[in-house]
């Protein structure tokens, strides 16, 4: 316990010094500069006026059930967009519906638990991207509406599953193809796309600090009496950045290694950065694909604009800073237990199949 408090104390000290210093990255040795487009470690932001803009959020819900005869997945994804005015939301629309119905998929029997989970998570990710794609193509065209920014819940990074199951691998391939299509479409239509990672466990930033701190100390030897290695070993990004970032600031942008089809990788790369929206909440991790055919200045500007659009829709509570469109989409997409139960009951009534029964242990006629 004592240890926790000392480490914490040291973290805070280290962070406040670093924050005041706001190291100039440009002065680092060249091999350490490549991963970033920013000149400084932190940038201050000014929340934008979003009046007249339309900002959307997309999230998906997922649930699964192991029944007697079938293993089933339940999905749904929803997009919500709001058009803002200075004091209130002018209009909110939902796609495909205000309360979309659940999609059911029956899994092959005999999947290993791991494959079952892989299958579920990839298909869920696909459902979300499909909605995003439809929003940008159909919805946008059909109603000739404009969307300025589309936020997606989570990270676009889905790792290639380690499996011999072809079906799952095929799903993975189609995920990647939908993702690339989405990024290109959004780029063509002038829709900014960003993924919001609420609870990042990454240590991109910590790692980077581990590499650059010696140089910073070299430049400012009077600054560090702290055992920074010890501190960094015990910290994750969120942990340090909670102290390092003040509200309305963002971290520098990191390059995010993610293998994509060659053609796509020639045009786009994945980047991420941290943005602190609420003073007493951890920062958000934001991920975005940026066109490689842009200058460094253009890329910084893009990140800056994106951040300044996210700030105003994320500032409503001092201890919680998730963008409102994500909160709303999450609330609508979330699949409630009662919903699943009543759906199953309906199915049982209709098909009268033993296979739709739940496992025996869940059917005990009493609660002991």
């Amino acid at each position: 316990m004592k240890e926790i408090s000392t480490i914490n104390q040291q973290k805070i000290e280290f962070c406040s010094v670093l924050r005041d210093l706001n190291p100039i990255l440009a002065s680092l040795p060249p091999h350490l500069q490549t991963s970033t487009c920013d000149l400084k470690m932190f940038s201050l932001l000014q929340p934008s006026d979003i009046s007249g803009l339309t900002i959307g959020g997309i999230d998906g819900g997922y649930s699964s059930r192991l029944l007697l005869g079938f293993d089933i997945f339940l999905f749904r994804a929803i997009a919500v967009f709001s058009t803002y005015s200075p004091s209130k939301i002018l209009k909110t629309s939902y796609f495909p519906a205000k309360t979309p119905s659940l999609e059911i998929a029956v899994s092959d029997v005999g999947l290993s638990t791991l494959d079952f989970e892989n299958m579920g998570s990839i298909r869920r990710a696909i459902t979300e991207l499909e909605v995003a794609n439809k929003v940008i193509t159909e919805y946008l065209d059909l109603r000739s509406k404009k969307i300025d920014l589309l936020l997606l819940d989570g990270s676009p990074v889905v790792n290639k599953p380690i499996t011999k199951n072809d079906k799952i691998l095929n799903y993975y391939i189609s995920y990647v193809s939908i993702l690339t299509r989405l990024v290109r479409k959004a780029n063509e239509n002038g829709v900014k796309l960003a993924w919001i990672v609420k609870d990042s466990r990454s240590n991109l930033f910590t790692k980077l600090l581990g590499r650059i701190t010696p140089f910073i100390i070299e430049e400012n030897p009077h600054l560090f009496s702290l055992d920074y290695r010890q501190i960094l070993k015990r910290s994750r990004d969120m942990d340090l950045l909670y102290y390092l970032l003040l509200a309305n600031t963002r971290s520098m942008v990191f390059y995010r290694q993610y293998s994509m089809p060659k053609q796509f990788a020639q045009d786009f790369a994945l980047y991420s950065f941290y943005l602190k929206t609420a003073p007493f909440d951890i920062p958000l991790r934001i991920e975005l694909f940026q066109s490689l055919h842009q200058s460094r200045e253009e890329r910084i500007k893009e990140v800056q604009i994106l951040s300044e659009l996210i700030l105003p829709v994320s500032q409503y509570n001092r201890t919680y800073g998730v963008p409102a469109p994500i909160v709303e989409a999450d609330a609508r997409a979330r699949i409630r237990e009662t919903e699943v139960e009543s759906l199953l009951q309906l199915l049982r009534k209709r098909y009268n199949s033993l296979g739709l029964w739940t496992k025996r242990r869940e059917r005990a006629p009493w609660k002991l």
Partner: protein, 492 residues
Amino acid sequence: MSNIGIVISTPTSPSLEIIEIIIEKNAMHKIERGQFLCIPLTENIQIIAIVTNIRKTNAYYETFDPNVQEIASRNYEGIFPTGEWENTVAELKPLGQVEINTKAISRVKVPVSPGTRAKVASPQLLSTFLGLDDSGLYLGNLSSNNVRIKLNISKLLRKHLAILAISGAGKSYATSILLEELYNYGKLGILVIDPHGEYTQILPEIEKDPRVQIINSSFISIGVPSLTAWQLSEFMPEISIVQARVLNDVIESVKKEKNEEYALQDLIYYLDNSETINSRTKDALIGWLLSLQRTFLFSNQSNPSLDEIIEPGQITIVDLSGIQNIRSRQIITHYLIGNLYYKRMRGEIPPILFIIEEAHQFCPETSRSISKRIIETIAREGRKFYASLCLISQRPVNMSVTALSQCNSNLIMRIRNPYDQDFIGRISEGIDRSALKSLPDLEIGEALIVGEAINYPTFLKIRTRRFRSKDHLPDLEEKAAEYKERWSKNRY
């Protein structure tokens, strides 16, 4: 009728006690507290439920942020689509069920299913459920369901009616509506005891109507020869049986002597001169008789004759405003009601309704009253002889519990005092707590009808009067303008 909402499933609803429905967006303006809804149980059975409460929910202000201060200081509406997720939930209390084919009404035995649609109960359905009578007395409206409250005469009056409310709530107005309806009905005999002489004001048009008779108190006299000793004793509540027997002997003797033409002073004179009667009895009787004489109500002849004042469809208003003394009022009331009741028992007059305003003056619970016994008797037994009471009072707590608890129908208007509320809750079995609690909030002319007359306690708005009335008094400005006009004319 269009759909109002859909039954939702919560830990307590739908049950036999409560049904919660979520209101459809376009039906928001169609629902109100106190409204009756119907929800199908089967194809042939409709459950009738009343709206007891309406609440709004919005998850954004519920679980999202427990820190209310935070919500208040931020522009949530500018960031979240909060308006999209406001729900209106109505809490209903299931009252009973109606079988559509047979019109049979029964208790609810199983709850409706979640997902069932609720509608506003149609006037026909509700009329069946409440037990209204198309050819009954039209007292008011249930606006939320567009229903005319027409009450079956027998159910409303046979076992007596009480109209209770604070002063100014509209009791007399409601009574005038009852009179209008009974006037049209035209078959009952009606006697109104009117201490303030207000019915001649309220119903000026019928003043000249041959079917309305107004008896001014200054013309009333009680013919002493028509009274037996026992009847006369009723006006002397302290009299003992022995003393009454003496009085009987006195009357017998005077009757022979005076040949049916005598008054109180003849009895007093006889007593005074008697040598056989014990002097204490003598003094007591003389004292009481003198005090009766001082009321100036007694003479050697009755006026008006009781044989003439009650006819089918006739309204007889006894205007007591000329008499200030409460005891005198009680004497007249006792005399008229008592005699008419016995006439009714003998079938000499049509079935009769006694309407008694300020009934607490005539049958109080604690203080002594000459007219209390006859009112309580009619309350208990009048039903057998088709003699009914309509007791009106703003002081229900002070009223005879015997009389009031025999009133099987109650029309209750605004009540403020918690003692009165409590009292009404006790005498009137049909009223539940929530109805009781809303009594202080009733507006002028709003009433709760409960008891024999209706299957379920129902709030109604007393209808407007058809007869024109004199009770519109000009306000100060009108009066001043009127005066000035007259004054200017007179000056030139």
